[in-house]
């Protein structure tokens, strides 16, 4: 996705922050601090920031739980941008160098299935898709990349 065209001159590449966090308990909370700081930077509403934080938590714990990352790390990139003459957005990319999965084969969850079965889990991707405005999942042998965007 392209950088917003409206960045002031001299700020080329200025709207991207990247970070690496270890695969470790509660590091997802440390990551959300970054999402919040960048959301505040563009004066995004608090509730929208909270939605980005929750989606980010889900993406992180998925990688922690399922990816089996070779490097024991998660690579996060936060981007700020603006549609041509349009709304500003905050984009979060969560990249793991893990085993990958086929997201088209993940069965959608429902609370009734949760009650019937013993498996109450399976809500992460659903929550991410519902809370963010755009979500793109790319996964394969090299790992998984979740790209999610929220408009201001």
């Amino acid at each position: 996705m392209s950088q917003g065209g409206s960045a002031p001159p001299g700020l080329a590449g200025a709207r991207e922050v990247s970070m690496t966090i270890p695969v470790a308990p509660e590091m997802e909370i440390v990551a959300t601090a970054q999402a919040a700081a960048l959301g505040e930077y563009i004066a995004m509403a608090r509730d929208k920031i909270d939605e980005v934080k929750l989606a980010l938590v889900e993406a992180c714990i998925n990688a922690f739980e399922h990816a089996d990352c070779r490097d024991e790390q998660l690579h996060l990139t936060f981007r700020l941008g603006r549609e041509p003459k349009g709304r500003e957005w905050l984009e979060v990319e969560v990249l793991d160098k893990g085993r990958g999965f086929d997201s088209s084969r993940v069965e959608p969850p429902s609370i009734e299935k949760s009650f019937a079965g013993h498996r109450k889990r399976g809500w992460g991707l659903q929550i991410i898709r519902s809370l963010m405005d755009e979500v793109e999942i790319t996964s394969g042998g090299g790992g998984t990349r979740i790209l999610m965007r929220k408009y201001k």
């Binding site: 909270d50 889900e58 929550i127």
Partner: protein, 119 residues
């Protein structure tokens, strides 16, 4: 870690009020479940979960809340939530929790909801 979830309980007749403070992840969810089951065991009919001091949850934590809900429904009890942030409220609705548990703005509303007859 500062985010670790603390759970405190208060009993009013057969209604138990559980207040959480902090991140509801797997540990937080288990903390809530432990306290909820203790209350059910000792005769509580309704649980009010006040999440006022919780600003973040994850789906592992919520899945444990679904287990609690199931156990309460098995016993023909009631489960009510209050004090949800807009994002946690939205997430509970996405997951369909709101169809089986009531969601109230405040603890007073929740107490009235689980206890319609004058106390």
């Amino acid at each position: 870690m500062s985010e670790a979830c603390k759970v405190s309980a208060e009993r009013r007749g057969d209604v138990a009020i559980l207040r959480t403070d902090g991140y509801i992840n797997n540990q937080g969810g288990e903390e809530i479940a432990r306290e909820a089951y203790a209350q059910l065991e000792s005769g509580a009919r309704a649980l009010v979960l006040n999440l006022e001091k919780t600003r973040i949850v994850n789906s592992i934590g919520i899945s444990i809340l679904i287990e609690v809900l199931e156990k309460v429904m098995d016993r023909k009890g009631m489960l009510a939530f209050c004090g949800l942030t807009p994002t946690i409220d939205k997430t509970f609705r996405i997951m369909g929790l709101a169809q089986y548990a009531e969601i109230y703005p405040t603890q007073e509303d929740a107490l009235r909801g689980v206890n319609p007859q004058p106390a």
